[in-house]
């Protein structure tokens, strides 16, 4: 299978904390790859490195044969890597339509002068982009919120708009950072269906970070497991499910997070709020 994205020995640290340690992985063209791992394993850091939000300290990242390690995020987007964010990052003051149109920006050819005149080519181009956006709106079944301001939408719909914006880039590689957090079962099923449809219809390669193991096992072709910044397992979903290393990482981590959570809880925060 053709390798579309190749990550080689990437390391990233924040001060003394090592977020990624010699991570290597290959993403094949046309697959759905899930990256899983306990909290703080470095999943989002890895996606941020790929999409150019972070610059790794060491290592190489190549997309379709081109080195993208030192490339700014907007150029990576233009190359064909689209992404969504764990904490939704939309223009909350704009409508769904405007959010998607903004994403088309990287495909717009006309310059400032032409767009001010808004005549002939610029106008025609705008119509073309609007058509592309409307197709995404229909695809994601968000016609009813086309003109709604994104800030006023419920969480599940915002997640869908965010996927729409990533699709508006027409990416060949789509990075989805926890697309199903905070959703109910029905919304998750819808989202899973959209992800599979995108994959099927556009042959888009998808890299997915997700916590809901049920969905990961259902839709992923391949799973990579990260823990403490390193790859600890890689393989087909059913192999990963029974991998003792993975089970240990998850269960062990769970205990740690529970205790960490208890100790981190500011016991008097509530009280202080009320008296101040």
């Amino acid at each position: 299978m053709e390798t579309q994205l190749s990550v080689g020995n990437v390391s990233l640290s924040f001060g003394g904390t090592l977020a990624l340690h010699d991570v290597s992985l290959d993403v094949h063209a046309g697959e759905i790859l899930a990256i899983i791992g306990p909290n703080g394993a470095g999943k989002t850091s890895l996606v941020n490195c790929i999409s150019g939000f972070y610059r790794p300290d060491r290592g190489s990242i190549a997309f379709e044969g081109r080195d993208i390690v030192r490339m700014p995020a907007h150029r990576i987007a233009r190359l064909g890597i689209g992404r969504t964010f764990q904490n939704i990052a939309l223009y909350t003051g704009l409508s769904t339509l405007d959010n998607l149109m903004a994403a088309r920006h990287i495909h717009m050819r006309y310059g400032l002068l032409k767009s001010v005149l808004y005549w002939g080519p610029a106008h025609r181009e705008e119509i073309e982009h609007r058509r592309a956006v409307e197709e995404i709106i229909r695809f994601l079944e968000i016609e009813h919120i086309r003109k709604a301001v994104v800030g006023a939408l419920p969480h599940g719909l915002r997640k869908r708009v965010e996927l729409g914006r990533a699709l508006a880039l027409e990416p060949r590689l789509l990075l989805l950072d926890e697309p199903m957090t905070g959703m109910n079962v029905e919304e998750k099923e819808d989202m899973a269906r959209f992800i599979l449809d995108v994959h099927e219809l556009r042959r888009t390669t998808i890299v997915l970070i997700e916590h809901d193991m049920g969905f990961v096992m259902d839709i992923a072709d391949r799973v990579v497991v990260l823990d403490f910044g390193s790859t600890i397992a890689e393989g087909a979903p059913h192999d990963i499910r029974n991998n003792p290393e993975v089970i240990r990482a998850y269960l062990g981590q769970q205990e740690r997070t529970m205790s960490a959570w208890y100790s981190a809880e500011p016991a008097h925060a509530d009280h202080r709020d009320r008296t101040s």
């Binding site: 409307e134 709106i137 229909r138 695809f139 016609e143 009813h144 086309r146 269906r193 099927e200």
Partner: protein, 651 residues
Amino acid sequence: MTQPVTLPQYWLEKVRQYRGRNKVSARQKDLGIWQRYTWDDEYEQVRDFGLGLIEMGLQRGDRVAILGDNDRQHLWAVFGAMAVGGVVAGVFTDSTPPEVEYIVGHSDALFVLAGDQEQCDKLLSIRDRVPLVRRVIYWDERGMWSYNDPWLVDYRAVQALGRQAIEREPGRFDQLVAEGKPDDPVMFCYTSGTTGQPKGVKLSHANFIGGALSLGTMDRWSDTDNQLSFLPLAWIAGAALDIAPHVVYGTILNFAESPQTVQANIREIAPDTLVYTPRLWETLVSTIRARMLDSAWINRLMYRAFMPVGYRVADYHFQKKPVPPLWRLLYWLGARAVFQPLLSQFGLHKVRVTYTSGAALSPDAIRFFRAMGLPLRQIYGSTEICGGSIAHRPDDIKFESLGRPMPGYDARITPDGEILLTGPGLFLGYHKSLEATESAIYTDETGRRWFRTGDAGHMDADGHVIYFERVKDLIELASGDRYSPQYIEGRLKFSPYIGHAMTFGDKAHNTVTAIITIDFENVGRWAEKNGLPYTTYTDLAQKPQVYALIRKDVEEVNRTLPPPARVRRFVLLHKEFDADEGEMTRTRKLRRSLLTERYADILHALYSDRPNVQVRATVKYRDGRQSAIDTVLRIESLEAVAPAGAWSVKR
């Protein structure tokens, strides 16, 4: 061609009338832009699809089940199947796979039209249990790319088959249309089936045409009328009010972009006809009122100035009195300054035919819309009578009634209070159930056949039919007469001054009585306005003036009732019914048995000739303390009471 007698023949006549004239038949949004489809487009779509079904083996009388949202392909598929002699069985889009299985199986459908991937998946999941189904046809290809199952066929592939057939036999389609007979079944409409399994109601071409012609006698329907098709087409209302008028009058059907965009689409289309449920109309009243509160001061000022004018003129209309010229002038101004602009915000400024159906709509909402210039009218019917059969005429609206029988229809009330209906829409029978058909049909002395609705009602002196509730929920009195608690209580609660009401009557008593609680806020405001001092809820409720106020409302409801079912005596309770004390459920439904027990003394007094009753109320405070309050409650009698003997209650 001779006089059309089937739906496809009417349809074909319209096709010929509009041929080459670029006349719009349907509109639907595509990628956010309204696209228009002409009658020529519709003809080709319908013909190709219908012949495609024939090519796939459909024969006259075979059933085709359809489940999908309302859209143009749905409409074309329905007409295509009907045109070549197929019988359409509609299935609601939100049906579960077992429900789909029941209807597809019961109707012996050979083909199933499943709109999209979601519906196709339902069919795939029940595939083993519907062995008769030869093919499942879908028209929305989204998500269907990876299905490689020959059982599933694309709508366009069926049409391609149809086009091949035309090349072979150009006259085939018109011939198939001409072969239809008016009494052939054309649709199986499955009733919701609150009791047992749904029943397949067989309806003929003549049923639908008769219904549409009757609608057109009451209101002018024309081929420039825009309708927004959002009622499910599997439901009789959708079929009778969207499909039938489209073929009989050539109305333009507009399809909502998605079920969630109906409101926005109504605003864009500004339909000429609109059927809403009471719930939707009432939501609209509160939306309009809320929007006015947020509006600019000048708008609020105009609204406040002209709404009373609207109400005054509305009341003239309801009382069937001529509107004096001054009020007419003021109303004309109000319509231009406030009502029309406001309605246009909701796409309602062009609506001519406005029906409400399904349940009682509050007089408040009816008056509100009449004041704005929209005469909301009740329409009542059932699947077995092919849609509407009783409706209000625009100039003859009574809040409490369903209206009068539509032109060509008749209604009568049996001695035990059941509403019977007959007319051109009377169904052919239930599919595969002769027994149910026989028990649903009543043949009168002249041999005329009537449908037993199972609804209890009353016909007043003006021929208006008033609906009470289901016959089986009526309560029988000692005299053998029956009365409807739900109707009386529901009507009483429409009064702003009444909080709750519980009627009482049973086999031991000859009459109906009621315990009523006042709406403290509204009655309190009324008391302040009328200079009536009061201290507590109990004090206010026992004022003679308040009794007189409530008495008027009770009399108003009594006026709509047959004499034995009227409320003869009532008491205003010293407190409100309280959910904390278990008197009501949390959803504010009365707990009858508990109330009957708790207020046994009051009920006893209501069935005596005493003018009042003493009650001792135990009040439980939040901290657990209890105390008792003694109160004397007045009892109001509405008419001279019958001899005391009839009222006696054995203690």
